[in-house]
């Protein structure tokens, strides 16, 4: 038992972090929010070149996967930098397509692994993220996974960088079931939320060190310190759930990770907003790009209550 990322995994995450730090993601996010996808697509290619999407695609389809631990490590970094686009959905689509007939999988999966194609997925009753940017759109209803012929109009999300569209009905049947896809979607979302929360905490710690009131940095006040300490605690205890789920790939573990990481990220977002005061409430200030996503990820791929229900129902199978 050694429950730590190994040197290679840490180096992979660090290189992705460096790539994204140099990429000016706030400008990319603002472009994406306006429906201008050019800079986002360029960044997408670089993320794909780093091997991120290939981690969810088996070697038989020109991927490197399945490697859920590395994928989780990568999604922490994507979340840390609030990278826009249907990241989780492309991973989910890749897992769904593995259930399709080999010819279809062979035709569609390599382009997902290479980053040539963005994919999105609309689960039953939900919107597809960035349906206007994705070339491959999958509608996923129980027992019916279809290639959707198109998308409806974009609806605004609370997170401006998430452009939500309904998918048009009909289309070719791809597969019947996809048990594992939801686990991958939740794992990736949990990791993304964890990274988002870590970034929110970092930015807020930086802010309260330099913001002065009553003649001292506000970070010297215990009321401020303790809220930030609580955020750190919540995030540090979500982290092992995320990587534990990546190792077991049990649906209930992914659900637990999703609930804990999204709650931790959201609580950190609330704290970040409070600690920044009014400046944090503005759309112009960069913090908003992280804040709004923390809210959106809570409900994406299963709200906390849905995930908790799965955690307790897991006990039924062991009885």
């Amino acid at each position: 038992m050694r429950f730590l990322l190994d040197a290679e995994q840490r180096a992979f995450a660090a290189s992705l972090d460096a790539l994204l730090t140099a990429a000016d993601t706030p400008a990319v996010i603002r472009d994406w929010s306006r429906g201008d996808h050019a800079s986002g697509r360029a960044l997408w290619s670089r993320v794909a070149d780093a091997g991120v999407f290939a981690l969810a695609v088996p070697e038989a389809y020109e991927g490197l996967g399945p490697r859920p631990v590395e994928l989780a490590a990568a999604f922490v970094e994507l979340g840390r930098h609030a990278v826009p686009g249907p990241l989780v959905e492309t991973v989910t689509a890749a897992v769904l397509l593995e259930g399709a007939d080999p010819g279809t999988a062979k035709r569609l999966l390599p382009a997902l692994a290479s980053g040539e194609t963005m994919a999105t997925v609309a689960a039953e009753g939900a919107y597809a993220l960035d349906g206007d940017a994705a070339a491959l759109r999958i509608s996923w209803e129980p027992g019916r996974i279809r290639l959707s012929p198109g998308h409806g109009p974009v609806r605004p999300s609370l997170d401006p960088a998430r452009r939500l569209t309904p998918l048009l009905p009909g289309g070719d049947l791809l597969a019947l079931t996809a048990d594992e896809a939801l686990t991958w979607a939740r794992l990736a979302t949990a990791a993304q939320a964890l990274g988002l929360g870590l970034a929110l905490l970092d930015r807020t710690v930086g802010y309260v060190k330099q913001r002065t009131q009553f003649g001292v940095p506000v970070g010297a006040f215990q009321a401020v310190k303790h809220r930030l300490a609580d955020a750190r605690i919540a995030l540090e205890f979500a982290r092992p759930l995320v990587f534990g789920a990546a190792l077991t790939m049990e649906p209930c573990d992914a659900a637990a990770a999703k609930a804990a990481a999204c709650e931790a990220a959201y609580a950190t977002a609330r704290t970040a907003l409070q600690m920044h005061g009014a400046i944090g409430y503005t759309a112009e200030y960069g913090l908003s790009l992280w804040l709004t996503k923390a809210r959106a990820l809570r409900t994406a791929w299963g709200a906390p209550e849905e995930c908790r229900a799965l955690v307790v129902s897991a006990g039924d199978r062991h009885r």
Binding site: M1, L201, A220, Q222, H226, R232, A260
Partner: protein, 379 residues
């Protein structure tokens, strides 16, 4: 990265499980915070020790099995899952013993550890004083040099287990002229029935004498019972506090067992939807604490030392423990008010968690200043 224990580790786990199946008392022992229960728990320590299960991670020459950190974690998981009795010797085992192993002499280890392992000598801690709680370095109880040792005078309080324990350990001011409060302190061990010691039990919330005040009037302590150098006690005590907050005091096994017991209770009560999320959070929290500890143990095995991260653990487990027991009492309905249930006993015990071993407010200060790098301020 993996969560797979070796076949040898799994064989160890199986051996622990088998032993517990044969030995754990069918009916719970009386509360260890009562005289009768204290004696029963002391006998249980002897039973554990007879087959060398009381201190598995200690060196074998002191009564352990050299089992190492990972197997200690596995032992704890099995121990609490088996509903085995609370550990009346834990203050000595988890706080004093690591200090002796790091800072004591071989003579001290050989003399003190074996009777601690067998339950023959039960230890209490003597840190706090009426005017020195969170600000422990302001403590005033004195150690005055005398022929062949030291004379202790002053008052200690909130001394867990001291009502029925045999000996105690704590910090005393040996150099009142030292420049700073945390200098000039000496770490000493003393007998609770030595001449000059008065023990006044204190009733906790449920009336049981779980801790005590200690009045010391020129209590003689021989030099052989000083740990480390005189005047250097603060640093030694802080290493103990690190153990207390971190891995060693509250193993994940306890909380996994509590969370599963809560889940069973919830099922027995007809799975009420109103508390389903709280039951799930108990299971998630216990798993998170287990995995967090596995990661911490992996780092320790890589040769890293435990740092302020232990403050994260202490806040997390103490709040988790209260949440689990509050949920259980709510689930029990009218029975939840009764004081004579296991859940009530453990609830009262859990309530103290955020207070002892450094309050959770002190832990949050440590997290903010040492992990987040925020400026020091007035407490």
């Amino acid at each position: 990265m993996d969560l797979v224990f070796s076949p040898a580790d799994e064989a160890f786990r199986a051996e622990v499980r088998e032993w517990l199946r044969a030995h754990v008392p069918r009916a719970p022992l009386p509360s260890l915070e009562t005289e009768e229960g204290f004696a029963a728990h002391r006998s249980w320590e002897a039973e554990l020790a007879a087959d060398r299960w009381s201190v598995v991670n200690w060196p074998s020459r002191y009564g352990g099995r050299d089992a190492g950190l990972l197997r200690w974690l596995l032992f704890e998981e099995e121990y609490w899952a088996a509903h085995a009795p609370g550990r009346v010797g834990q203050n000595g085992i988890q706080l004093l013993a690591p200090t002796l192993l790091d800072h004591g002499t071989e003579e001290q280890r050989a003399r003190v550890l074996p009777p601690m392992a067998s339950g023959e000598v039960i230890w209490a801690q003597a840190w706090s004083e009426p005017e020195a709680g969170s600000d422990l370095a302001s403590l005033r109880a004195r150690a005055v040099r005398t022929d062949g040792g030291w004379l202790l005078t002053g008052q200690k309080t909130w001394s867990s287990r001291a009502a029925f324990a045999d000996r105690a350990f704590g910090l005393f001011r040996s150099d009142p002229d030292a420049a700073k409060p945390h200098q000039g302190l000496t770490y000493l061990m003393f007998g609770l029935r030595a001449p000059g010691v008065t023990v006044r039990p204190i009733a906790r919330l449920d009336g049981k004498p779980a801790f005590a005040e200690l009045f010391l009037d020129e209590v003689f302590v021989p030099d052989e019972d000083v740990i480390g150098e005189p005047g250097r006690g603060w640093r030694i005590a802080m290493s103990t506090a690190g153990n207390e907050r971190g891995l060693m005091l509250r193993s994940p096994g306890r909380f996994l067992a509590s969370a599963r017991r809560l889940e069973e209770l919830w099922r027995r009560q007809g799975r009420p939807a109103s508390v389903r999320d709280r039951v799930a959070d108990a299971l998630i929290g216990a798993r998170a604490y287990q995995l967090f500890t596995y990661a911490a143990a992996s780092r320790l095995l890589d040769g890293e030392s435990a740092g302020p991260e232990s403050s994260l653990s202490k806040v997390f487990w103490s709040e988790l423990d209260i949440a689990v027991h509050e949920t259980a009492l709510d689930l029990l309905g009218p029975e939840g008010e009764m004081a004579d249930t296991d859940w009530a006993e453990r609830y009262v015990f859990a309530l103290a968690g955020p207070l002892y071993a450094g309050t959770n407010e002190i832990q949050r200060d440590i997290i903010a200043e040492r992990l987040l790098g925020l400026p020091k301020g007035r407490r």
